[in-house]
Symmetry: D2
Amino acid sequence: MKAILLEQFGIEHLQLRDIPVPAMGENEVLVKTTAVALEYHDSIVVENTIPFGIPLPHIPVSQGVGVVEDVGSKVTRWKKGDRVMIPFIARWEAGKNTPYHDQLRTGFSRSGVLAEYSVQPENTLVRTPNNISDEEAAPLPVGGLTVWAILAEQANIRAGQSILIQGTGGVSLFALQVAKIFGLKVIATTSSQEKMKRLKDLGADEVINYKAFPQWSNEVKRLNGGIGVDVTLDVAGTDTIEQSILSVKQHGFVGLIGLLTGTKLTIDLIPLITNYVRLQAYSVGNAQQLAELVNAIEKNNIKPVIDSVYAIGEVQDAFHRLKSGKAFGKIVLSF
Amino acid sequence: MKAILLEQFGIEHLQLRDIPVPAMGENEVLVKTTAVALEYHDSIVVENTIPFGIPLPHIPVSQGVGVVEDVGSKVTRWKKGDRVMIPFIARWEAGKNTPYHDQLRTGFSRSGVLAEYSVQPENTLVRTPNNISDEEAAPLPVGGLTVWAILAEQANIRAGQSILIQGTGGVSLFALQVAKIFGLKVIATTSSQEKMKRLKDLGADEVINYKAFPQWSNEVKRLNGGIGVDVTLDVAGTDTIEQSILSVKQHGFVGLIGLLTGTKLTIDLIPLITNYVRLQAYSVGNAQQLAELVNAIEKNNIKPVIDSVYAIGEVQDAFHRLKSGKAFGKIVLSF
Amino acid sequence: MKAILLEQFGIEHLQLRDIPVPAMGENEVLVKTTAVALEYHDSIVVENTIPFGIPLPHIPVSQGVGVVEDVGSKVTRWKKGDRVMIPFIARWEAGKNTPYHDQLRTGFSRSGVLAEYSVQPENTLVRTPNNISDEEAAPLPVGGLTVWAILAEQANIRAGQSILIQGTGGVSLFALQVAKIFGLKVIATTSSQEKMKRLKDLGADEVINYKAFPQWSNEVKRLNGGIGVDVTLDVAGTDTIEQSILSVKQHGFVGLIGLLTGTKLTIDLIPLITNYVRLQAYSVGNAQQLAELVNAIEKNNIKPVIDSVYAIGEVQDAFHRLKSGKAFGKIVLSF
Amino acid sequence: MKAILLEQFGIEHLQLRDIPVPAMGENEVLVKTTAVALEYHDSIVVENTIPFGIPLPHIPVSQGVGVVEDVGSKVTRWKKGDRVMIPFIARWEAGKNTPYHDQLRTGFSRSGVLAEYSVQPENTLVRTPNNISDEEAAPLPVGGLTVWAILAEQANIRAGQSILIQGTGGVSLFALQVAKIFGLKVIATTSSQEKMKRLKDLGADEVINYKAFPQWSNEVKRLNGGIGVDVTLDVAGTDTIEQSILSVKQHGFVGLIGLLTGTKLTIDLIPLITNYVRLQAYSVGNAQQLAELVNAIEKNNIKPVIDSVYAIGEVQDAFHRLKSGKAFGKIVLSF
């Protein structure tokens, strides 16, 4: 089968190779990949910017969707032809993950999805939403699921609350879409006039040009009746954490899910304690949560925002697009 | 001031009288009533069907809204002219209520809102939503708040879940509206062809004629992919509880908030235990929850459904309408 | 291997037979049974009192513990000699169960533990606590886990709260022990003078003779400063539900986990709604919860109370003891 | 009445003065102070280390207990002679606090408790536990309540979990005591051999000398079966936050409640996100939570640890003791 094999770190070393189709166990499913989507951490892995100790050669990329090609002898939940989403933490069906579950992370400690076929456990595959294409569904297993788990469960968002969405990456745009279907007021930030309009089209109630307001937490409060928002998701780390914390109200929730501008946070305790702020770091959730997200997407007809779709042979272009920071939504590769 | 005074139990004894305006304390507010709304329990009080031991004469009715007329010497949160909603449990600002809080229940142990003026505590008044009229807001302090507290907090509803709404009383219709803004799938029941259409107009995804399907839990499952719904609110008690329980899925939630057909429930333990069902009895919530509901109403432009508006002199007609069971939405009295 | 095979329903048909050792899959573990414990529902299955549609011949009994004898080719978590507890819902590792998980219930839809060996999935086995014997651990996978899941998670018990424990069956005694390590005040009931003393020895703060007080909810309140308890677990159903509901305070929690006196509940809505009572039906939890319970048992050195231990050849005697209702704690069978 | 009046900032300016007894409103209670306890923030206020903008002259200190001397005309819950605890956030009875509630903070924006009498609202006073003296109860309204609110509610601690307690200040020792009654395993840190013994006497399962192990998170894991603890409370800020974060397991909880070594935190996002860590800043809770704590203290006979008791005339000595960092438990002033 065809696969993108990383034999040395670096985008230029992402090369198409021909390798054997992996063997399937009794409780496993062979999935034919149809579409995959990139996250920022995929570029960290490919370029080894943060050394995760991944042995080479390696098939990168953490999330994707496909179609069931074959099933193991004891599998009862899936049959050939089913559209499925591939798990990131392959053993994590429900509840809390542990080091045991985390041993198998797609695109890290186990092979990623940039391959024609992969073998997946029966119990952590989740059906793809009926109302969207495979390309639209590709960013759900990591980016979409992270947003869902942190907003619906950890932040426990409710109609009438307010949320601050930071920037126009795929994760932030999906957070905006999820917040809208829960009935929240959405304030978004961007640095581009053109993206302001696209954010409003997606349902943002207010948009702040963060370049015009370097202390944008003040603007957030001004647009929210003088008080901070209930929730924000910080996706950039170093450069944004201070304003993120100042943007929430008492008992506010700051999700820590990204590190676009760096991993070192400098934080002042006084506003944190005075305001009883919760900083909640989070990453991808489990299969049971992803199944709940499928229902939410179908019922409310959410279409994840796709920036661009590349063919598998254009994989290096896709990673360059990812690193440019210019994407409005997700970068997808189609098989 | 004018007030409806019950000197003997019975709808025919609801009579307009002239009585003194009540005196205001340091931390209290004098509210001029503008609109009130009836709940089923108001008819129980007026007719003394269930003996609550209320001394006569009594000013009945539990919920209403008004305008601040004057404030006590220590009041800082309100000023003349503010639109406010009157609390049902007058001392219950937040958290859980206790027997101490419950000593003062509007329309039960303390005077109700069928009077031109009333005195209310500063800390449990809540501002009326900006986007709706006083008549539309009148059913929020009891019916609206009960729905909000049980759905948003107890049942913890989320987008993608499903809910069964029973009948077309004001409480059920408000539950439908709240469920829609949280992104749920709504299945509703009614016995009238004409009301089926109105339910769909309000956003119901499916409507069941419960007369055509006496075992309507089967129909609920058929319309929900073969499994029960996540949540239902039982408003009728005796006649509906069995089907309510059979309508929910594993770990499902059955709210017990009404007793239209009787207060005696007969329940089979086997389906309850097999399905890990939660039966949650509930009544009105607190002022902090009502303030959250105001935000949800304004953000999502909810308009509570009003069946009919009566003048204060038509109070007996209003109660007859209430008892007819024919109302689609709330019955309101306007001052 | 030896197994107790039910070829016809009835305690007298519990017979020792010799049958083949079951075959093990890649992700499965062969467990040599060391001790099993009876629950009331086991006698319902054996006598077919409630027809669950179980095909004969059947190996009954839902819970037990053992030692790993062999592991499948892909198993990494267990090795020969490990002490393990056998799951009731064999596929339920964490989160919420679904009909898919429930397809395999030990002693119901799949073979029970009254056999020398059984095959279990790798991911739902849980290690046996270090501080107790296999006989003491035998009642944990069903009875112990049900108590833990409903008290620690659903009722969310906390130090300083109060709980009412009903009777001296194994489940109630384990609830008493769990409540004590969480710092609750415990009120217990019994009809026997001798058991009153044993309940106090186990840590009960107060004991009520329910025969002397048929309206025992009044006595509960008297012993609790005039108000109801925070939590009770109803284990008897028909005969106790009314007093259970009247025994809890506002926002109180009534667990529904047993049906000793019948499955038909008659309930009055008025006290339920006035007090915002939660009725929560529950049964056994998942493997992740059972692992938490193991930590709690080891840290606090809980010893489940064993009424009596029978040899496997005395299985009929064990069931007669179970049905007598005289047991103080659990009835165990040892291999 | 006698009061300690701060006319200039500085410990040396804590001077005994005679001032008028404050006037009481309808819903208020006059409390005769019997004992007060110091928190670290009281020294910040007295020395104005962090400028909170408090106008002088000022009566400092945030927490204390007393006896009801007189009640306002509408007060029904209290009578002369009742032992009561004084609220820190005077308007915060239950639920979440808002800027409105926070306007009146004892010892900050309103007068503190270093005075013979103070006037308090009826609805946020809480009865003093029966099993302890006023001196023992003095540290409950701020330090004790903060610990309770963050452990029992935010961290939702449960039997069988593990907690890391940092140092031997009054707040940490109270956290140890609360953790014990909930059935947790407790690991504590100190730098003194003598305090190690006292920590074990209080129930610590393990004690780490943090001077011997500057990377004490490794030692925490070694003593906890190789994995991090479920919960820790960081009381020191700048110097401890890194090790605090590294001490918890996946989905671990790090409470941020102190700033003994500074308010500037430097945090690495990678371990936070990998482990799904929650950083929860917190401060004092509400009256309803304090009432729950009273029940927990009485039921489990907790005695808060008192380092030393000073007479009101020795107030400067008490503050010097506070600043020395040598206290084992709370520093109390007795009237």
